[in-house]
Amino acid sequence: MNQIESQINELENYLGFSTNRLEINLESKWNEIFSYDLLQRFYNKDDELKTAINKAINILTMLIKSNNGNNKQISDHFSLLGNMYYIMGDFNKSIGCFMKSLSYNKNDLTGWVELMFSIRAYGDFRIFEDIIFNLEKAYRLWKNDTGHELTKEKMLSLIDRAKRIS
């Protein structure tokens, strides 16, 4: 087992569940069970949550450096990190993580759902509504976009285009 796999195993043992997520598309529902499990694991356990966050950051650093082409794995770990920041209450960081998650995997609808609720928690209700009322269109536009990174500007541009599609 290489070092990355070993670190992932260690994190999963620490969490009590797998970091591997089922990818969902437009025909599937988003399941909040993952957010439920994380809450049960870390509720009122800030120190343990910080430990898990650090572990996830280390894993992501190694995954990105290794350049092994497993973008889904990177995406899942950015999603996990984003969810942990969400529980911590750092919505600015969770937004960043979910955009990174979507950058590495354009196929997974999960990233858009997690992103929009982070945006709402941050207090930007208008953008939240723009996403949720145009979720399917935004998803398709990003999936077919030739760009690799979902930045804030790109996200706003996609949403703007989605709103104009009838």
């Binding site: 599937s28 439920y36 809450l39 928690a121």
Partner: protein
């Protein structure tokens, strides 16, 4: 015998305090409106008919309250089948559209508080799952906790909710019952902790308590009662009467209310009643019981560990298999 089904609970028409609230929005959430207006509760959320939104906001302003709208909920034309995420809908579901002051159909979900900042903070975590483009999306689970704090729920009840409000695994009311000590010669629950009528006008709380004798909940509900007593004593009297009626509970929003008296006999319970009323969760028709007609024809039920026997005087009308999470409860 003729069916004894009736509307035991009638709307409450305030004589003085909050009459304007009733005139705009009926009485279903009247006590929570009063609790916030009287300074006991920091915030409540409500639904108001879209064509009355401005009237509602103006009325709240007179009571020193700010209103922040979320989206509009419109009654669906079709059932839940085919909705992506429909199986996770546990409460009344509706189609969601963006709020606009020129839209006059549907109901607006609103957050009401003494300050706009408090209402906006609650809105961040107060998403209610509407169906948008044939998709129902629940919020991240921790948002239930954060929203509960905004609403002023006791910490013990919030923590209990965190553990047990997963309807795939638990029946929250049944877990609450298990967490309620049985005290000799007393009813099982305190009427201050009776949450079952919280969307039916007569309730002093609007949260799921961790126990039907939760001391934090009782303290809060007593404050609500005391404050309302100063301004609208009739409501307090009617609420206490309604909240002390025994219930046969199937799940949180699925229960029978009895105008009667419950007694314990060893491990069994009996309810003698003159009238009964069935409250069902309209978003989950699959959970509705199919034997209420028999209850309506009878005047006595006996609840044992595995069975419910419905009787009319001395005749047995029907015997039902009882699910483990179903229970009878009385309040004092």
């Amino acid at each position: 015998m003729a069916l004894l089904v009736s509307n035991i609970l009638n709307p409450y028409i305030p004589k003085k305090f909050g009459r304007e609230y009733y005139d705009v929005n009926g009485s279903l959430q009247y006590p929570m409106f009063a609790a916030v207006a009287l300074g006991v509760k920091p915030l409540f959320d409500d639904w108001v008919s879209a064509d009355k939104y401005q009237e509602y906001a103006d009325m709240c302003s007179k009571y020193g309250l700010e209103v922040v709208p979320d989206i509009i909920f419109i009654a669906p034309k079709d059932g839940k089948k085919g909705i992506i995420g429909g199986e996770n809908i546990t409460t009344t579901y509706a189609k969601g559209i963006k709020f606009g002051k020129n839209i006059d159909n549907g109901n607006v979900h609103v957050f009401v508080s003494k300050t706009r900042s408090m209402a906006l903070e609650a809105k961040k975590f107060g998403w209610y799952p509407a169906v948008i483009n044939n998709r129902a999306t629940n919020k991240p689970y921790i948002d239930h906790i954060r929203f509960g704090r905004c609403l002023g729920f006791p910490n013990c009840c919030i923590d209990f909710f965190r553990k047990y409000n997963n309807w795939h695994l638990y029946s929250n009311p049944y877990e609450t019952l298990k967490n309620t000590p049985a005290i000799n010669r007393k009813a099982r629950g305190s009427y201050y902790c009776n949450n079952f009528l919280m969307d039916h006008t007569y309730s002093l709380i609007h949260h799921l308590p961790c126990s039907y004798r939760c001391q934090e909940t009782i303290m809060f509900a007593k404050k609500v009662e005391e404050k309302i007593m100063d301004v609208e004593p009739d409501f307090v009297e009617k609420a206490a009467e309604a909240l002390k009626k025994p219930l046969l509970v199937f799940s949180e929003r699925n229960f029978i209310l009895f105008d009667g008296f419950m007694a314990k006999h060893d491990d069994n319970f009996s309810i003698d009643y003159k009238r009964c009323q069935y409250f069902q969760n309209t978003a989950r028709p699959e959970d509705a019981i199919d034997f209420f007609d028999y209850v309506g024809e009878g005047n006595n039920i006996i609840i044992s560990k595995g069975k419910i026997m419905i009787r009319d005087d001395n005749s047995a009308l029907k015997t039902i298999e009882k699910k483990p999470e179903w229970f009878a409860i009385n309040f004092d």
